[in-house]
Symmetry: C2
């Protein structure tokens, strides 16, 4: 049998007999000739079937989206896209598609906003559009870049459990699991477990894991389940060390995607990324006359405005907003200094959307308990977590990253669902 | 401030003032001198504190496992491990450990089988033993190798959802989730979703995701949640193509770990791996007089015996057992040929333990439905899955891999729990 080659490679095979395989993208049947456009993961090619062969009879009966293997000779053709086409010798039908497709594969213009629920119901047909496979190819490359940084900087990968005996953050937005004769909860973040990695002496750890949020949110940025990237590093001096490290990861990620997809509308960010305190951000936004619904936090509108400001003034797609008020900090965020009302938390905005929350953590058990009590939290469910810090734990900090949001903004997608293979929300558990 | 260096690097700094940080591994207090052995992720070093300094007073009061930063001068020392030690100038206490540790960090001999539940209760202290961090460093490298193969062979990474509307395999071993006003189920495997990737035209996909099994198993190889690696590839001719590909992944994995850990008791496997049909395996086992409790499947004892046989006769740590009877095949496994009672399924054994199940899948919707009906399965819950094949789907096959089992056998650990950061079983949801 002839080894199958990718469609993108047929240009190198003019004059040779080759084998290709893929979906029937379009079919134009004339009395003497059939033009079958074949689509594989690398693109579409034109194949030509002449009357009088058994291949002609086979091609005539094909439905769109059926899968075929074709053997034929590559020849130059001025009419064909790419300047080459295949003169078909034989067609083998590998899979027959129902003639009635529930959604079209070929669409004119932007289909993002039209019939999104139906598209997602038939996600496996939706994803056949070539620009959709690219979303996940970009994600694959982006992650490869982050992993390169983690590898070169001695990070250890750990897999945190999704099943927990107590909710990891607050109790209200957690999914409950029937676990034999008990209840379990789905992790809302691997926060506690990455900090446990530091208490285990591993010094630098990263995690890739699903996180679950039982939130009744209906925004373009929220899902009930999404992939989180997390890292944590010991012996940091402040949250600035965490920002430094994350910049390195992001730069490796962009290097990887730009190497593979030079046509992307994204640029390699320069270091250091702009860093603005929340107080400075609020001053800038006041001058810009952007409404400020919350004194100590940014609304989505403010996030977009401050990103636009930084892009204009500093030419940068990224901006860290740091030094959050304690009311907007987790109990485990370390304060700027003892007694301060502000914490060593920073959020990273990319093109107007928050893609990361990071902080130096409080590793001193007495201060940690005090901060939990100040928030009115019950200590009993936190017992396991607090114990991590009782037997020695290095100072540390880390970040939680939403890669789906990154990909959404890199590719300018209207909704994080488009960057998610099979999005899950309040209404959607299918397919 | 002086940049901290790793303990392993102090040998290069003789005569220089440096900064190190880590856990107080041991402390030997004498009247004129204190020997403080400091442990970081790279190993232990000896530091020496002389009487009369403020560092001496600080060191005297330290508890084991407290975390300190030390500044001092590196000097040669015949008594010190590695031939160098640090003459301490200053000690900064970063974290104070309770003097009473719930479990020891320093153990003599093998602690695997003693007090395992207590060790796992205090997993973050258990993991401080240097040989335990190595487990996850080996995993990190092993995964890097697999990812290198996936990257070089155009695999696209997809993240499957854990939350599903219907159980992914049989209904009995599934965890139920309270999902707003409905029920959801935790994925028992990403099987359907990786096949959906093929129906989406992505051709080669891989997934790294948690899988959940509500099994009341109490073996050394079973957990209720574990990390699964999965891949799926289109246009395979048979399950042998899937085996070929997996061999390539495994070899990259071993190359990566052997490069970083040349002292590992593992060797680079040679290609091709031995492939034995189930029928041949049963014949060999009969000659070896190993009991055969099931005609069409291998018991754990048989798995060990056939692995030992292959190791002895063929010098190989791996063996594929293939051509399973239909009663031991999933409804979605393709038969050897139409009407055959045997399927294109293969299991991979490594050092006596099953680490992979792979198969060519049945992509023809009519045969798929027939095979589901033969198994007495209800078609309604399979509707979503079966629809993946109605609108064209390439022939394909793939594998599900248990990396925890791989790591367990590579490092000769007695239990998959030891290769799992935070194991979950019927009785364990903590920490």
């Amino acid at each position: 049998m002839i080894q199958r080659i990718y469609n993108k490679d047929i240009g190198e095979k003019v004059g040779q007999e080759i084998s290709v395989a893929g979906f029937v993208h379009t079919l134009r049947v004339q009395s003497k000739i059939i033009f079958l456009i074949l689509r594989d993961i690398t693109g579409v090619i034109q194949t030509v079937v002449e009357a009088g062969s058994s291949a002609f009879e086979t091609a005539k009966g094909l439905s769109h989206e059926s899968v075929v293997r074709i053997i034929g000779a590559v020849k130059e053709s001025k009419q064909a896209p790419g300047g080459v086409e295949i003169g078909v010798k034989s067609i083998e039908v590998l899979s027959v598609a129902d003639p009635e497709l529930p959604i079209p594969v070929i669409v004119k213009g932007n289909d993002e906003e039209t019939e999104a629920p139906t598209r997602l119901d038939y996600r496996w047909i939706d994803l056949r559009k070539p620009e959709k496979a690219k979303i996940f190819q970009v994600w694959t490359e982006f992650e490869k870049g982050w992993r390169k940084y983690w590898d070169e900087n001695n990070f250890i990968q750990l897999y945190p459990p999704a099943l927990m005996s107590t909710p990891s953050e607050t109790g209200s937005q957690v999914f409950e699991v029937n676990y034999f004769d008990k209840k379990a909860y789905l992790a809302q973040s691997p926060q506690f477990y990455k900090q446990m990695g530091i208490a285990s002496g591993m010094e630098k750890v990263f995690m890739v894991s699903p996180v679950f949020r039982a939130e009744e949110s209906f925004t373009t940025r929220h899902l009930t389940e999404f992939t989180g990237w997390d890292f944590e590093m010991a012996y940091v001096e402040s949250h600035h060390d965490v920002m430094d490290a994350e910049e390195g990861m992001i730069i490796e990620g962009f290097k990887a995607i730009l190497a593979k997809f030079p046509d992307l509308e994204a640029e390699l960010p320069s270091q250091p990324f702009p860093r603005i305190t929340m107080k400075e951000a609020k001053e800038i936004l006041a001058q810009m006359r952007v409404p400020s619904p919350e004194k100590y936090d940014l609304s989505p509108e403010e996030e977009r405005a401050i990103s636009e400001y930084v892009k204009k003034e500093r030419g940068h797609d990224f901006v860290f907003i740091h030094e959050y008020h304690k009311s907007k900090s987790a109990f485990y965020h370390m304060r700027l200094e003892e007694g301060s009302d502000y914490s060593r938390r920073a959020d990273l905005l990319y093109r107007g959307v928050e893609v990361t929350t990071l902080a130096q953590r409080e590793h001193r058990v007495d201060i940690l308990i005090k901060q939990a009590e100040e928030k009115g939290m019950a200590l009993e469910p936190l017992k396991n977590y607090i114990n991590f810090f009782r037997y020695g734990c290095p100072p540390h900090g880390g970040a939680g990253i939403g890669p789906g949001r990154f990909i959404m903004k890199i590719l300018d997608l209207p909704n994080v669902r488009e960057a998610t293979y099979l999005p899950r929300d309040v209404k959607r558990l299918n397919p």
